[in-house]
Point group: C2
Chain length 187, copies 2
């Protein structure tokens, strides 16, 4: 017999993530979550403050999932190899969950709920650049460039913004090489 999972904030976020995967962030609605949980809409307020908070929590989950994959990809590597692995992992995650990416907050540091998850992800990026020995502003600029590249590509690709998928792998390779070259100049 089926034992219904007790509803917890984490479960609600799980369900929400499923809805986002299927219908996009705009499709994420308390009513839809409630239906999947076989519960009346107002009941959700016992687990989550409101729709805004739920969206923030979904953002945290996406951030954490990505960070975990990045960490795994970079572990045991350094230098260009690590950077390449990180950029590959970023794109891979977004391709695995295209709709999901729109739930990733661009400004996690501005939201108390997302702050630590956001900081953790940025830390991984900084750590990936560690072996280049960049100091102060140079490190910040390098991390920003990296973020611009991966986010720019991922956001356009996941939106279907590149006319044809034709040669997208090559384009991404070129972005990686371009970035690695810029790192060489930095050091």
């Amino acid at each position: 017999m089926v034992v219904k999972k007790p509803l917890t904030p984490a479960v609600v976020v799980d369900v929400a993530l499923g809805i986002v995967d299927e219908h996009g962030l705009e499709g994420l609605t308390l009513a839809a979550v409630a239906q999947r949980c076989e519960v009346a809409t107002p009941s959700l307020y016992k687990h989550v403050a409101n729709l805004g908070e739920l969206k923030a929590l979904v953002g945290v989950r996406v951030l954490d999932d990505m960070t975990e994959r990045f960490t795994a990809a970079v572990l045991g590597r350094g230098g260009d190899e690590a950077v390449t692995a990180l950029m590959g992992a970023y794109r891979a995650y977004v391709n695995d969950h295209p709709k999901r990416y729109s739930a990733m907050p661009m400004d996690p540091l501005h939201d108390p709920i997302q702050k630590t998850a956001g900081a953790k992800q940025i830390d991984v990026m900084f750590a990936t650049l560690r072996s280049y020995g960049l100091e102060g502003p140079a490190a910040v600029h390098a991390a920003r460039r990296l973020r611009v590249l991966v986010h720019g590509f991922a956001s356009i690709e996941s939106a279907g913004g590149f006319g044809l998928p034709e040669g997208l792998d090559d384009t991404y390779d070129q972005l990686i090489q371009m970035y690695l070259a810029s790192l060489r100049k930095d050091t």
Copy 2:
């Protein structure tokens, strides 16, 4: 005395754009537009098919405005100078209307309403790269890289995604130099 403008689709889009500038794309609502036009909400349906179409039209307007500024920036220039001007104009537009940028469609070619405006903007980018003499796929990759850079940066900056505005000009400069270097390798 005040002569009230006759309501036309173009005027409705103007008003909508004002709302987007103030409250963001999520704040764009037919009810809000109607109020500013001093008209009942259903009246808008005489000028616009529905909220979705209005958003698409706003997207076209943004696309066109940007393209116009890009064209002006690039006119009479070539090579690195032209690319630098284009990238500068892109960032400048977004900084002039931060909220607005979220209304710029990432996949204009998929929407019949936005298709030509999107194609025109991409044409300007290709034209800016013309003097490098890139052929076939190389030209496509170069244009994609350019788009990734400008969009990635603009989208993060306009969302307030960079921790501190500290040194953002420098970061953007580095992105430009990085891109110019990648073009040198292409040729």
